[in-house]
């Protein structure tokens, strides 16, 4: 019987396999950041161990880093300690670190791919659940706990229990204005936040194949929000074109050998998935969340659901709690929900294509009075590219704040937070209670919806701007 993409990558990394024991898997790339690594380095130090493969390890600072005044000392002493600890650990153990101020600094899941370190057929881990992002390249990539971080540092391997496979097949054309974010939000709403538990999801089908690498990363990024261990997309010409010439991509003969191997990384025709979900791309539309988990979402054109309409009592209870926290009423049109803040950024939608999309909507327009809009590039490189294209000017001319790279308001570990009761349209990935600041209310949206929402002051899509002034009405928006 044939094998799926995930099974092929797994099999290629088995170091030892024995009855009654988990497989020991080799890890090709280990990404580190300041929050989940300090105790792991401590463990190494106590046991007198070294990092086994410094050449497969890289660190960046992202969760705690400020997005303003980055040349000044970090105000929060606890955040500062966490960053200083990472710097000390990396220096002591010899790990390459891209600290705040470095040109390669940024959100760990944006940095790996842009350096060309994330490659098809590799195993990638990081002490962060959104490591699933890297699966967009056909890598088997997943988040791990701190003990496992230490384990990988010391051995470059992990003992892992087997997974099940799920195919999410999306066929057809995405309608105009519908993005990868809308697609993945719709998938999560369909299968639920626990629907992917124990599975590695492979996204496939003609709609997926047409996606750019940035869009594929957005899709794989949120696999974890469906409870899945990882998400993957088979590598193809789009993947190879993205990688070619990147700093750590193979070159010369190695490139040819790599591509030859990468081409084998496709699910065999006779392979069987443990579970399959089929989605019609043509039926999708801009999607937003109304609740406090990423599965509580609906098309923008819909209304806030009535908890009473849920047959499952625990779903009903969860919906009631969510509406209470979010300050929404059943039946209210989602388009009528007004916001105070708009956040464009994060490892879900903080890449150049996302900034271009938001800028195209904002070009020649102003954000609504009373709305605060933060644009935070996923990495310094993304920020530089945006500046080169003049996107920063578009944002600031529209009244948005252009910030320095980092996780920022995705989780508010730095000063970028919502105040209690504030409502935000956010391109990030989690709308949990308090995620963006204590008492803050989050609606997950695409960059396009974020930008249109900023202009109108309520949840909206670019189509709602028709007839209103804006450069994009009279000429092609900022070109790629």
């Amino acid at each position: 019987m044939g094998r799926t993409l995930a099974e092929k990558v797994w099999d290629d990394h088995v170091v030892t396999r024995a009855e009654g024991e988990p497989d020991l898997l080799f890890i090709d790339l280990h990404l580190l950041h300041e929050v989940t690594s300090p105790q792991a380095f401590d463990g190494l130090r106590k046991a007198g161990r070294a990092v086994r493969r410094l050449d497969l390890t890289i660190a960046t600072e992202d969760h705690n880093t400020p997005t303003l005044d980055i040349d000044k000392p970090i105000a929060d002493p606890v955040s500062r300690t966490q960053l200083e600890t990472l710097r000390r650990n990396c220096a002591e153990f010899g790990v390459r670190l891209h600290p705040l101020g470095d040109v390669e600094q940024g959100v760990v899941h944006v940095v790996g791919p842009q350096l060309g370190l994330t490659q098809p057929g590799t195993t990638v881990v990081c002490g962060d659940s959104h490591t699933s992002t890297h699966g967009a390249f056909g890598a088997l990539a997943f988040g791990i706990g701190t003990s496992q971080v230490e384990h990988v540092l010391a051995t470059q391997t992990l003992p892992l229990a087997p997974f099940r496979t799920m195919a999410v097949t999306v066929e057809g054309e995405l309608p105009e204005g519908v993005t990868a974010k809308d697609l993945i939000l719709a998938v999560i709403a369909r299968i639920g936040t626990g629907g992917g538990q124990g599975y590695v999801i492979e996204y496939r089908g003609s709609a997926i194949e047409k996606l750019s690498m940035e869009a594929r990363m957005t899709v794989c990024n949120m696999s974890i929000e469906a409870g899945a261990r990882a998400g993957m997309i088979a590598p193809d010409e789009t993947t190879f074109a993205y990688l070619k010439g990147r700093p750590h991509a193979p070159a010369g003969d190695d490139w040819d050998a790599a591509v030859a191997y990468w081409r084998t990384l496709r699910t065999d025709d006779d392979a069987v998935f443990d579970h399959e979900v089929v989605i019609d791309a043509a039926g999708l539309s801009p999607f937003v969340t109304w609740g406090t988990n990423p599965g509580q979402g609906a098309p923008l054109s819909a209304a806030v659901p009535d908890p009473a309409s849920y047959s499952d009592p625990s779903d009903r209870f969860a919906a009631e709690k969510a509406l209470e926290y979010m300050g929404l009423t059943a039946g209210q049109a989602l388009r009528d929900v007004t916001v105070d803040t708009v956040f464009v950024g994060s490892c879900t939608n903080g890449r150049i294509e996302d900034l271009r999309a938001a800028a195209a909507v904002l070009d020649g327009r102003r954000i609504a009075d009373g709305v605060r809009m933060l644009v935070v590039p996923g990495s310094v490189r993304v920020g530089l590219q945006a500046v080169e294209e003049g996107l920063d000017k578009v944002f600031t001319a529209a009244g948005a704040e252009w910030r320095h790279a980092g996780c920022s308001m995705c989780l508010g570990m730095n000063p970028d937070q919502l105040a209690p009761g504030e409502r935000c349209a956010s391109t990030s990935n989690r709308n949990f209670e308090g995620r963006q600041g204590k008492g803050g209310r989050t609606h997950l949206v695409s960059p396009q919806v974020a930008a249109a929402t900023a202009v109108l002051g309520h949840l909206a899509s670019p189509a709602d701007l028709a007839g209103r002034t804006g450069a994009s009405d009279v000429r092609t928006p900022v070109e790629a």
């Binding site: 170091v15 030892t16 009654g20 024991e21 020991l24 080799f26 090709d28 790339l29 929050v35 300090p38 105790q39 401590d42 463990g43 046991a47 161990r49 086994r52 493969r53 410094l54 050449d55 497969l56 390890t57 890289i58 606890v78 955040s79 300690t81 966490q82 600890t85 990396c90 220096a91 010899g94 790990v95 390459r96 670190l97 060309g116 370190l117 994330t118 490659q119 590799t122 706990g145 701190t146 003990s147 230490e150 384990h151 010391a154 051995t155 470059q156 391997t157 003992p159 700093p247 750590h248 991509a249 193979p250 190695d254 490139w255 050998a257 790599a258 191997y261 570990m413």
Partner: protein, 201 residues
Amino acid sequence: MEAFTTHTGRAVPLRRGNVDTDQIIPAHWLKKVTRDGFEDGLFEAWRKDPEFVLNRPERAGASVLVAGPDFGTGSSREHAVWALQNYGFRAVVSSRFADIFRGNSLKNGLLTVVLPQETVEALWRLTETDPAAEVTVDLVGRQVRAEGITADFALDENARWRLLEGLDDIGLTLRHADDITAYEARRPSFKPSTTPLGAQF
């Protein structure tokens, strides 16, 4: 990891179910950069109440926690296990543990023992009546013993062996160091590598 063979100590009866990791160690403790020093964060909200069982003088120095069902649900934070260990707990008894918490605890040498709810109740009654009563958690014999109570428990053989030997996963994996080296030797040259510190980038 410290080996766990058998442990005898006084117990803390925690008559609560569904104790999630946010209750075990609240989120604001996660900015700490060590594995120790979490003892003051353990059950932080409840400890504000002087009558909370952990605050009672007769429970000082107790090392076995006897909790209600579904202990350790919620976020995967390993800090929850560290907090229990930092406080001095060597074993936790409950009728049901959340998966991730259990995995984390066994990785760190905190023995999580699953016993039927009736036995948990019996342990509660005993240790509430006599706070000085000792409870023995015997991993060799896979048994929990206290006055008038003898209860066998199950634990998967691989996990039990690791605990008995005091092997952390790393120690165990390093027994395969030759296999790892052999794998590395056959790894294709086109695989990505970073440039370690000091090397030219």
